[in-house]
């Protein structure tokens, strides 16, 4: 968990650095951009909170960056993903289509959720896609974002149970639980 927090902190702390570096070194069309969201995830397991920060580069109508955050759905986890978005051409309103893909790290690797015996959570796939509407600013590079989309996270829990016996080594049964979690994502953010 500590490593996850450190990774998250590093990503967040790198934002100003990246921002400064980009502004100094790249041409005017390639600019640093940051998108920071808070929102909800709605699925079969209920409603959960999420926050995300995505930082990267904007080039014309394209944006690509690295994102991370906290995802409280089912089992708290930290997604780390690549994010790509593009403003939709030909629309009179500022709409973006975006897609994220990456890995989802469990917050607590030893948490037990579905089974009572010890298990370990493993990182697995995370992806999402959606549409975002920008409002609140006339500048193309900043404003509020209302993002609605679909989000998928996969968690793997592997358990190992030693069956009772007086004569070690006792029989061990291994089981694997795959949680494929599908959610509607609604988030509000600030882009700059």
């Amino acid at each position: 968990m500590r490593r996850n927090l450190i990774a998250l902190a590093l990503v967040l702390l790198s934002v100003p650095y990246l921002s400064g570096a980009q502004q100094k070194t790249v041409n005017k069309k390639l600019q640093f951009s940051s998108r920071n969201y808070a929102g909800i995830l709605e699925g079969e397991a209920g409603t959960s909170f999420q926050i995300q920060t995505i930082n990267g580069l904007r080039y014309k109508t394209w944006f690509a960056g690295i994102g991370t955050g906290l995802d409280y759905y089912y089992e708290r986890s930290i997604p780390l993903f690549l994010s790509v978005s593009k403003s939709l051409p030909g629309t009179r309103v500022p709409l973006y289509v975006n897609g994220d893909i990456g890995i989802n790290f469990p917050w607590n690797k030893d948490n037990v959720y579905y089974v009572w015996y010890p298990g370990t959570w493993s990182p697995s796939l995370y992806w999402s896609g959606g549409l975002a509407y920008k409002f609140g600013s006339k500048r193309s590079s900043q404003g509020f974002l209302l993002n609605i989309g679909y989000s998928y996270k996969h968690l793997i829990q592997e358990t190992q149970m030693e069956y009772p016996c007086f004569n070690p080594p006792c029989p061990v049964e291994k089981e694997r639980y795959d949680y494929r979690l599908k959610r509607l994502s609604v988030k509000l953010g600030w882009m700059f």
Binding site: V93, L146, P164, F166, R176
Partner: protein, 430 residues
């Protein structure tokens, strides 16, 4: 109030404007609501299904003999007789190891005994469990062992294995393992699961006593004293008259308690370890052991050994032991009718133990093997530790220490001077 109303009105107007103009935003939402499966979480469980492999009983009995040596994969209980080591391969049979040279022990043969967990040897006869049956094997030449006979249903609690039961003509000789994945969603139901149930919950290994009897480890559930063999299952102590070695005759069964684990003989006493305490039985009348004393402790797994004045009981946590206690209890058994705790020592996860004069050896789980000077049981002093192996049980005999560990069978030379030197190791091959 007016301010709130205005705010709500403005907000709804704002949302209406968005919905009207930017219906595109609702596309993913609508997709998900229309295709409700998009929002249905899926939980699957992947596990192994075990299917039994049967053989006809006649065929199994015919194969109870010295077969070609086999690799050690799951070492179980240990029995030493003369220059031979008999090492149980859990649920498979017995390895016969020529230990004439402890530096270079050689696996000479393997006796196929399906469902075997415990063994005991007296003279030319080996006794072993085959699931619920007691098997008698002639080992006058250990390299040409042969099946003599069997006694049905001596260990009835072992009739069921992994949820299966062999019928009267067939025996389970192995398992086919197949991984399978099922949807479980919100129901933790797995009707077709065949879990690895208590395949190792049955009976146990031998003992020491008068006559040409082998030596067993402290985890044993068989014990031979003179012309009687004693076995414990989860509840009962059973006596067999083996004066006619190839024809054991059951003489008595005593209900001892619940969760009986091990049996250890000393003099004319049997020390029986259970989950909740240690029981002492007198075998002055060997056909019918008589309960004498009892020492209760917290619920824990507890092999026991004893000498004239003290019993040494290890309590460990984990598995079915239901405790967090990991200790060595030294119990004063001078008065067998009223054993009392003399002293306890903290341990890591103690399993089997063995004692040779004043040296006490304890298999302390992942902490490896520990050698103590126990000349003063009130002040046991650690003399040596051999770490790096997960040890289960040991037998110390005339300066040679045999240790069963997760990764193999070790032999050490030891002395009162405090040396504990590795002589050899037969590694587990999985």
């Amino acid at each position: 109030m007016i301010y709130a109303t205005v705010t709500v009105y403005r907000l709804s107007a704002f949302l209406k404007a968005i919905m009207k103009k930017y219906l595109l935003l609702l596309v993913p939402m609508l997709c998900c609501f229309i295709l409700t499966g998009c929002l249905k979480d899926k939980l699957t469980k992947t596990y192994a299904i075990l299917s039994p492999v049967y053989k006809a009983k006649a065929e199994v009995y015919a194969n109870i003999k010295s077969n070609a040596p086999a690799t050690i994969a799951a070492p179980g209980k240990l029995f030493v007789y003369g220059n031979y080591i008999f090492l149980n391969e859990v649920d498979k049979g017995v390895h016969i190891i020529d230990n004439t040279d402890p530096v270079n022990p050689r696996i000479k043969a393997f006796i196929n005994i399906p469902g075997n967990l415990d063994i005991a040897v007296k003279g030319n006869t080996l006794y072993a469990d085959l699931y619920s049956d007691l098997i008698v094997v002639d080992i006058s030449n250990p390299l040409q062992a042969r099946y003599v006979r069997h006694i049905n249903d001596v260990f009835p609690e072992r009739r069921y294995t992994n949820g299966f039961i062999a019928d009267s003509n067939r025996i389970i000789v192995g398992w086919v393992k197949k991984d399978t994945t099922v949807d479980i969603n919100n129901n933790f139901i797995c009707p077709s699961c065949s879990f690895m149930w208590v395949t190792s919950g049955g009976t146990g290994v031998g003992s020491a006593g008068g006559g040409p009897v082998g030596v067993a480890g402290s985890m044993a559930r068989f014990s031979i004293v003179n012309s009687y063999m004693y076995t414990v299952n989860e509840r009962d102590l059973t006596s067999f008259d083996i004066s006619s070695a190839e024809n054991p005759v059951k003489t008595s069964t005593r209900s001892v308690g619940w969760n009986i684990e091990t049996i250890y003989p000393f003099g004319n006493k049997l020390f029986i370890g259970s989950n909740t305490g240690m029981f002492i039985y007198d075998i002055s009348a060997p056909a019918s052991p008589v309960a004498q004393g009892q020492f209760s402790h917290v619920r824990a797994c507890d092999p026991v050994i004893a000498d004239a004045n003290y019993a040494y009981v290890t309590l460990r946590s984990g598995n079915m032991c239901n405790t967090v206690t990991n200790e060595l209890h030294v119990v004063n058994v001078t008065n067998v009718f009223s054993p009392t705790l003399a002293k306890s020592y903290a341990m890591t996860n103690p399993h089997g133990l063995t004692k040779d004069n004043n040296l006490l050896f304890i298999c302390d789980g992942k902490d490896g093997l520990k050698m103590y000077d126990a000349s003063d049981p009130m002040n046991i002093v650690l003399k040596k530790q051999s770490a790096g192996m997960e040890t289960y049980d040991a037998i110390a005999l005339n300066g040679n220490l045999l240790v069963v560990a997760k990764d193999g069978l070790y032999q050490f030379a030891y002395s009162t001077a405090g040396n504990l030197d590795l002589k050899s190791k037969i590694s587990v091959t999985r």
